[in-house]
């Protein structure tokens, strides 16, 4: 290809990329724009890209509105996401380490049982899981919202793959010092694996904060609503207040945007690792 044509190709690619980047950011912009506008500005017949003025008071109005359980649903989402993340990391990392490092005759069978559950789409089991949780009396409880989601075969699989590649020299040194499996794990392996914990943790946290179907099915009472369920109910309400709805949605994604920006490097690494690799 001649240099002139190559330069044209590069310029064209840059233009397309910038245009797509703007398109990808527009929905976020609309969220903030509508959240900080007055109702009249949102519904004005003449659409303006920039609002006339920014109404930060909308945030206050949202939290002062007694008909919207915003603070409580954010609190529920935060508790659920933190407990789910900590619990999943604890259970899945131990299982992943056991599978990768402790020789056991039936380790492969156990591994296939875990992999097999990955083949069962979790959403197809929501009816039977609901049946189980409701017979335990866990509907509308924190237990019901958290415990059934803690056993992520996907997380265990990621940890196993990671620990298979963990340098054995470090553990051998610990063994020579007389440390058993348990102490080797906590003193040597975990402190040297922060990146993988950050990656899996970020994926689990985002998934938990954003999950909808399970909290919708289990969190039936208003006191158990997560922020996603509250937003969804609010959207369907007969008399919907647009600016309040948008500011609520903007507030709900703020914690995730922070997690995303802080942990992005780990998150990308985690997603890359999750691609089916040999």
């Amino acid at each position: 290809m001649e240099p002139g044509l190559a330069r044209f190709g590069r310029a064209l690619r840059a233009v397309v990329l910038v245009a797509l980047a703007v398109l990808f950011l527009v929905p976020f912009y609309l969220l903030v724009r509508d959240g900080l506008s007055t109702e009249a500005d949102i519904t004005a017949p003449g659409w303006s890209f920039f609002p006339h003025s920014l109404h930060w008071g909308n945030v206050r109005e949202l939290f002062d509105d007694p008909s919207v359980p915003m603070l409580h649903s954010l609190w529920n989402s935060a508790r659920i996401a933190v407990l789910t993340t900590v619990g999943t990391l604890f259970l899945a990392s131990l299982a992943g380490y056991g599978l990768a490092r402790i020789p056991y005759k039936y380790a492969n069978h156990v591994f296939y049982a875990i992999l097999g559950s990955l083949m069962i789409p979790s959403a197809v089991t929501f009816v039977p899981s609901f049946v189980l949780v409701s017979s335990l009396g866990w509907v509308s409880t924190l237990r019901g919202l958290v415990i059934p989601t803690l056993f992520s075969a996907f997380a265990a699989f990621l940890f196993r793959q990671y620990f298979l590649g963990f340098p054995p020299e470090l553990e051998d040194a610990a063994r020579v010092d007389g440390l058993g499996y348990w102490r080797t794990y906590w003193r040597i392996v975990v402190p040297n694996s922060r990146a993988v914990f950050a990656a899996v943790g970020a994926i689990v946290f985002i998934g938990s904060w954003n999950s909808f179907l399970w909290p919708l099915v289990i969190g039936q009472d208003e006191s158990a609503w997560t922020v996603q369920v509250a937003l969804s109910t609010f959207t369907d309400a007969q008399a919907v207040n647009l600016h309040e709805l948008f500011v609520a949605a903007a507030v709900s994604i703020l914690p995730l945007v922070i997690v995303f920006v802080v942990l992005q490097r780990h998150l990308v690494a985690g997603v890359e690792r999750s691609g089916i690799d040999d």
């Binding site: 990329l17 994604i253 995730l256 089916i276």
Partner: protein, 304 residues
């Protein structure tokens, strides 16, 4: 006896200390519900989670004879026909362009990846209330007005079915960046030497190298991406529910399998026996689709 059970250096014991809690939870919360559901599917169970009386295959007959169920499968087929190729093409396009960038690569990757942090609920809200709002102040209708066209009620028009545009674009926006990252990782694994060899053989950069080097080398990643896209499309619930349900309920069209199940099993009447039969049928379908797809693409076959 006990010593043998514990294994050398009590390894068996340690294995179960590490994996036991996880495996136990997996059994209780995945395998038990599955078996329970299979049992319930043969029983009459309304408003109750304990099987009352055995009805054989009648729940299956009810589900398979229910036109709402079969049309939900059709909805899934139409949906995946749109969303799978669209997402794959966009993700691949983004990955190829970002991969070749010499600067601002991290910036563009972040921008396209950012929607991954947004929930389906929030994205549906933006799509339903701001972009595709059926009234005049919606963004899409504003754009139409610039071209002199009349506003469209995007989510309630069934002829033509404009709601598909809303449903497909929201998922496209949410997931394209995720698959772009997977494909970027795949692109980075292609050995540079292949491109050098192709250049020596006279392959032109651009279409020819894409056709004969990049695309074949991306095969394993592409197969994984398409499999994930189909499985995820099959489980679509959040955006359908949030875009289409209103204070008056869910419209009779665009009901994918999970929306159907949700209303049968957890709506009025709580027909858990029928719902369980539906879940079993869906689980079987997804297993067959997955296996067939893996066979078709030759997953597990070694790369040439």
């Amino acid at each position: 006896m006990l010593a043998r059970l514990l294994g050398p250096q009590k390894r068996n014991l340690w294995f179960w200390i590490f994996t036991g809690p996880f495996v136990l939870g997996l059994i209780v919360f995945t395998y038990v519900p599955l078996l329970w559901s299979i049992t319930l599917s043969f029983f009459d169970a309304r408003n109750t989670v304990t099987p009352t009386h055995f009805v054989g295959l009648s729940n299956y007959a009810t589900v398979l004879g229910d036109s709402a169920f079969t049309s939900s499968l059709l909805t899934f087929a139409v949906f995946s026909l749109f969303i799978v190729p669209a997402t794959y093409a966009l993700s691949l396009g983004l990955a190829l362009m970002v991969h070749r960038l010499r600067f601002a690569r991290a910036f563009f990757r972040s921008v396209f990846f950012l929607p991954t942090a947004c929930s389906y609920v929030v994205a549906s809200l933006i799509w339903k209330m701001s972009i595709f709002n059926g009234v005049r102040f919606g963004l899409a209708n504003t754009v139409l007005r610039w071209f002199g066209a009349d506003p469209v009620a995007w989510l309630s028009t069934t002829h033509p079915p404009w709601y598909w545009l809303v449903i497909v674009t929201v998922r496209l926006w949410l997931q394209a960046g995720f698959y772009m990252v997977l494909l970027l990782a795949g692109l980075q694994r292609i050995p540079r030497a292949l491109y050098e060899a192709a250049a020596v053989d006279g392959a032109r950069p651009g279409w020819q190298t894409f056709r004969y080097i990049t695309f074949p080398q991306l095969r394993a990643t592409s197969v994984a991406v398409v499999l994930l896209l189909v499985i995820n499309a099959f489980q679509a619930f959040d955006e359908f529910y949030n875009l289409l349900s209103t204070a008056n309920g869910y419209p009779p069209y665009a009901r994918p399998p999970l929306v159907y199940l949700y209303y049968v099993a957890l709506g009025q009447g709580q027909q858990l026996g029928v719902g369980s039969a539906g879940a079993v049928v869906l689980a079987l379908i997804i297993a067959i689709v997955t296996v067939a797809q893996a066979r078709w693409f030759g997953l597990g076959r070694k790369e040439a």
